[in-house]
Amino acid sequence: MTKNTTFKRPQTGQSASLELTHALTQTVYREARMLDDENYVGWVKMLADDLLYHMPGIETRYRRDKTDQVNDLTRMAYYNDNLEEIKKRLSRLETGTAWSEDPATRYTHIITNVEVEMTEKEGEYQVFSNFYAYRNRNEREEDSLIGNRVDIWREAGAAFQLVKRRIILKHNVLLSKNLNIFL
């Protein structure tokens, strides 16, 4: 299969300034609040045209096993989406016939451990964060999705847009019936 389709992450390791750190931290919190509020119209505006949104499925493997489960984009993944594909997923919610989304799910995305670093590219920043997403549905269904993210955000006018996101969910078996959620 295609070998060059891997998720490359620029690394310089240089921490961003206080102002940049503040601005990007506020940005990922704002993004989380939009997802909590199901404000997908607002959320899509935060995504860059050349978005890569990737959440690989991770099998339990012995340490000696060198299979690259994270970067190989040809393996099974919960999400391996560009902007158009994200929009397709979202368009399901606009049809008015996504019965299982009605009544609505209650969400809270907790974003923490936010670190901002410079990248080789001017105007692009690497943002590390941890997420703890809580869902509560119907009467008593609940679950927690916990993991970390590595993002690339790009300056776009006075704001930032998400260019790349790699999500590592800390589940082997997804302990829920679906992922009606973005992380």
């Binding site: 506020q26 940005t27 607002g42 505006k45 809580y134 509560n136 119907n138 008593r140 930032f160």
Partner: protein
């Protein structure tokens, strides 16, 4: 293009308020309720409303004015709740439960009043109770904080609880 609120919020304010939220959480974890009251404005409002579980198309008004309120407190009522907790008769809190608050997603916006800001945050409350009974609440909060001579005080807090059925036998905690 992304519409972001361009109104600048000072990094200093951001840090001060984030610190204030963490400090507040630490006071509550330690049951330093009187110190916590010091952080509240005299005209504080403190509310938690139940989210309604209705179909999306349901535009009906709430069942009654104030329906679905879990907390609708002012300063005096909060003090009254603390009086109860201090009475020495609240057996459910003795021995004390282990309570830890996690505060995150602190996000600040300008408010209408010049000396006020809106602060969004998320709170998780872990309660470890008798015999390994561990319970957890998650909620979103929208606060109004006011800057006065004593620094920042909490003027209003709206709490949106994520649970349809309260997953514990009481809410002897403040969010």
């Amino acid at each position: 293009m992304l519409e972001m609120n361009p109104a600048p919020v000072l990094v200093e304010d951001m840090i001060a308020l984030t610190q204030r939220l963490y400090h507040e959480a630490r006071l509550l974890d330690a049951e330093r309720f009187e110190d916590w009251l010091e952080l509240l404005c005299d005209d504080v409002t403190y509310r938690m409303d139940l989210k309604r579980r209705r179909f999306r198309a349901d535009r009906s008004p709430p069942a009654a004015v104030g329906a679905g309120v879990v907390f609708n407190e002012n300063f005096a009522r909060l003090k009254l709740r603390i009086d109860r907790l201090r009475s020495g008769y609240v057996w459910a809190e003795d021995p004390p439960n282990f309570v830890r608050r996690v505060i995150s997603n602190v996000e600040i916006e300008p408010a209408d009043a010049e000396n006020e800001v809106i602060v969004h945050s998320v709170i998780v409350i872990h309660r470890n109770r008798i015999d390994g009974l561990a319970r957890q609440f998650t909620a979103g909060r929208t606060d109004r904080w006011r800057h006065g001579t004593q620094g920042w005080c909490l003027a209003a807090r709206d709490i949106a609880l994520d649970h349809a059925v309260l997953p514990d036998s009481n809410i002897n905690v403040f969010f």
